[in-house]
């Protein structure tokens, strides 16, 4: 009995030490490859639909696709007013299209590549985002909801509910993750998206 207890305690300690080491290693590894040292999260007023039918009605283009470059290799735009203060920020993300789920009449059925506008940017090691939006990860297939902006480009809409990862991964990036409430909202929405477009694997 005494030996058994010692064995349990030793096992628990070993598991704790291993887990701590893994977390420290993961954080260190992420930090060393992260193209930014600070995340600035702003407040915005933008579309926020939690009903997939409403969102599907609202948007013009829905695709299953994935980003082809790392976040740091994409074209980041920061637009300022004449006095230097921030007006707008975005990233041009190249995606490969695996499947088109909804499209306007003028969008070619066989189009396989597209550059989309994401609501996030990068400048001098600072990542700027709003409403805690987390960018598309390279090679991670997602359902992406898009609308054409006034410049004729397709823009991702509905923030974190505008890109639903097909695999069971949660949206996250170095120094950024969804809050418990945001994650719960995302999970429920993801389920409805997969059901609507018959994407359950």
């Amino acid at each position: 009995m005494k030996k058994k207890s010692k064995y349990i305690v030793a096992s628990l300690l070993t598991v704790t030490i291993l887990a701590t080491t893994a977390i420290v290693y993961h954080n260190h590894d992420s930090a060393s490859t992260t193209p930014y040292t600070k995340v600035t999260n702003l407040s915005a007023n933008s579309l926020k639909l939690q009903d997939i039918d409403q969102l599907d009605d609202y948007v013009e283009l829905v695709v299953v696709g994935y980003a082809t470059e790392d976040f740091s290799d994409r074209e980041h735009k920061i637009k300022a007013y004449g006095d230097g203060y921030l007006q707008d920020f975005s990233t041009r993300t190249n995606i490969k299209i695996d499947k088109i789920l909804k499209k306007p009449a003028d969008f070619p059925e066989d189009q396989k590549e597209l550059t989309i506008i994401e609501p996030v940017s990068l400048q001098d090691e600072e990542k700027i985002t709003a409403e805690n939006y987390i960018e598309l990860k390279k090679d991670e297939p997602s359902v992406i909801f898009l609308m054409k902006n006034s410049f004729g480009d397709y823009s991702l809409v509905n923030d974190n509910l505008g890109k639903i990862i097909l695999t069971d991964e949660d949206p996250e990036a170095p120094m950024q993750s969804l809050t418990k409430a945001e994650l719960s909202e995302y999970d429920a929405f993801r389920k409805s998206v997969l059901e609507k477009y018959n994407l359950n694997q």
Partner: protein, 193 residues
């Protein structure tokens, strides 16, 4: 022997309970009130020339007056000079198709102002409403006022009201309302009566 047993029990309990306690931490309890903000909501605001050139001075004034009525601790006064640290309001354009407004806080760092997150204390903020997107979505005059008021709400320290929450100017999207009773109670909790 007893001490060893107690240590063992404590160790096992802590290993089991710590993750549970972390999961239960109330991280989003005050989502509608930002953790950050200006030290007070008695603040000045300067309108850029873009506000008058797009014809939105009256809309911004109306949005401002509506917040000023919510608490004696909220007073947003328009000033004619951008000198010092008044908030700054602009009408701009955005490439994000369904973004209608943005609030950007600034804080002092090493002698210059840099962008701050909404969970930090800031010195002033800039607010933008985006003409191109409001135009594409055929905003009515009342919707412009709501959009402008939403950004003022952020500038005085309120975050977003979740979609499932009560009626609120601080919900995201296109609305035609001013600060609701819920918004008033939230700003009073943040700033006082």
């Amino acid at each position: 022997m007893r001490i060893a047993k107690s240590i063992k029990k404590a160790l096992i309990l802590s290993l089991v309970l710590t993750p549970i306690a972390l999961q239960c931490a109330p991280s989003d309890a005050n989502a509608v009130r930002l953790l950050g903000g200006r030290p007070t909501a008695i603040q000045d605001v300067w309108y850029s020339d873009s506000v008058s050139s797009y014809g939105y001075v009256a809309a911004l004034d109306e949005a401002r007056f509506r917040w000023n009525d919510t608490s004696s601790k909220v007073k947003i006064t328009r000033v004619i000079s951008s000198a010092g640290t008044p908030d700054k309001y602009y009408v701009g354009v955005s490439e994000i198709r369904t973004r209608w407004g943005l609030q950007t806080p600034y804080k002092l760092s090493s002698g210059s102002y840099i962008t701050a997150s909404n969970n930090e204390t800031w010195a002033f903020s800039t607010m933008s409403i985006y003409y191109n997107n409001m135009f594409l979505d055929n905003f009515s005059p009342e919707e412009v006022i709501s959009n402008a008021g939403h950004e003022f709400g952020h500038s005085i320290g309120l975050g977003e009201t979740p979609p499932s929450g009560p009626s609120s100017l601080m919900k995201q999207g296109v609305q035609s309302i001013g600060p609701t009773s819920y918004d008033i109670s939230e700003i009073r909790l943040k700033r006082g009566n």
